[in-house]
Each structure stands twice: as C-alpha cells, then as structure tokens.
Symmetry: C2
Subunit: 150 residues, 2 copies
Amino acid sequence: MATSTASERRAVAKREYDAFLAMCPSRQLLERISDKWVALVLAALGGDGPRPGQSTAGEPRAMRFSELSRRISGVSQKMLTQTLRALERDGMVTRTVTPTVPVTVTYELTALGHSLQGVMRGIKEWAEGHMEEVLTHRHEYDHRQVGAAD
Amino acid sequence: MATSTASERRAVAKREYDAFLAMCPSRQLLERISDKWVALVLAALGGDGPRPGQSTAGEPRAMRFSELSRRISGVSQKMLTQTLRALERDGMVTRTVTPTVPVTVTYELTALGHSLQGVMRGIKEWAEGHMEEVLTHRHEYDHRQVGAAD
DNA sequence: CAGGATCCAGTAGGATACTG
DNA sequence: CAGTATCCTACTGGATCCTG
C-alpha cells in the first residue's frame, strides 16, 4: 500500500509470506502452481522436452492454443483454457489475439512466467529422471504388504 | 530389474520418459508430486521455512506425525496420512515406529526424497517470493474486466 | 480456430467417530 | 499419539454443444 518500490516490497515479502500458514496468500499461490497442467503448460511454452525435429529447445516460444493442446496430450480444452486464463491473470503468460480469418491466438511466457518455468522445469525433469527409482520403490512397498510379515 | 547401475538406468530414463505424453508413467508421477501437500510435507521434513526459535534450518529432520500436523497448518489428518503413505511408497520418506507407551512414529526424508525436496523448495520459495508481483497482476487483470473497454 | 456455457460423473478432501 | 474407517459435500475436470 505504501509507496515503497517493488524490490523493497519483495524483499520484505520473502520474510512475510509463509506457505506453511493456511491463511497466507502464498499458500493459495502454491496450490495454484502445484498443478500438473500448470507444469506442463509452462514446460511447453518454455520450450521444454523432446520436440519432434530439431528446435530451439529451452527458448521461450509463442504457441497457439491448438498447438499447446496437441503438445500436452490428454488435456481437455476446458482445462487448457482454464489454466491459461489463470496464468494470464497471474501475469505468467501473455495472450495475443491476431484478427486473421479464423482468429489466431498465441500465448507466450512473460518474464515472471519464465522465472517460474525455470523452477518448474526441475519438477518435470525430476519426475522423468527418477521414474525407474520410484517404480522400484513402489514395487517393493506393494510386495511388503502381501509378503513376509517382517 | 536388470543388473545395470542406477545411474545407467537413470540416464536412459531421462530420454525414455516424457511427461507430455498422457500415457507415460512420468506423467502420473508428475501429478503425484504436483500437489500442495507433497510440497509442504517435503518442505517441512527438509527443514524449510522460518522455524520458531533458532534451528538447523535446511537440514533434513525426522518429525513426528503430530509435529508435521502442527507445522503444516490446515492439513487434515486424512490428507497428511495419505500424503505420507504415498511418499513412503514412492521411497521419498521413511516411516519409523518406536513402540513407546503411546506409540511414536517419525518420518524422515530418504536420499531420493531429499533430492526432490531440493527442487520443490524452489517452488515454495518462488510462491512466497513473488506473491506481491502476482497479486499486482491479478489486481490489474481483474480491473481490466470491469474497467475501460479500451 | 479459439473458447464460452452446460451438464454431469468422479474424486478430492473435510468432519467425525473409533482403535491399538 | 497415530492412525483407520465412514460419511458426505464440493469442486475438479471431461464431454458435448454452441458461437464469433
């Protein structure tokens, strides 16, 4: 509310906000971004993952709605729209409408979105990279249930 | 299953698994860990966040069920149990039962869990650190709806 | 093509009560 | 203390239909 600069406020915020507290706004933000679709949309816009053909992987990139929809297999258009709206509202992506014959809409990461993507990329890559290990643990765990009682 | 080393398998996995694919196991793993409770439990066990009093912040630490429950405000015991079970099954945490008078159960991060926690910590901190910025964007966005039609 | 509006099933998740 | 079991609500999210 005061006339402090953004950097000033943010420095304070780091100490003020605590996601461990149920009532803290940062808790809601954590819930928002702790979402598989958010992770995948950011990853897609961030140029993450194996792309068919060569590409400027790792570079942020504007993508159309249908393009995103194809890339993130299994996402419904409702969820995609919803996720994009939320990300736009939070200032993570920009939505650009080009009034062509059938309208063209592109989404692109903002600086803020890109900073989050950097962090989220780690999550997705961790999941992909530790899959085997986790699968092994699950197998073991499930067998301990039916197996020996020790 | 084979006799390859963990690092060998992981190197392959990195290329095999793709969370963009709906059917890929890594997608399910991404869904699992893209959960606010997972993030908070890992953060708690990882010694994250401002702790009342001084503490060995940043160091993994064994915590009791009730302790976790208190630390993560707003979590129901059902969700906490469920989250801990899932994390245990996936090999992220160990559950230790000490047969004292009222039984004592402690949870602790495994090496695997700790590696994930390192990544997740970024998410939580990002949320706490960029709260102001996001709040500002939301405010702007919401006002564009009712405000001038440009 | 991009997405709003609806309907509706499935499930996440809270409240409560009981147990070793 | 550290759960398990049950009930029940509310929201998630998919499918479908419709519009600019």
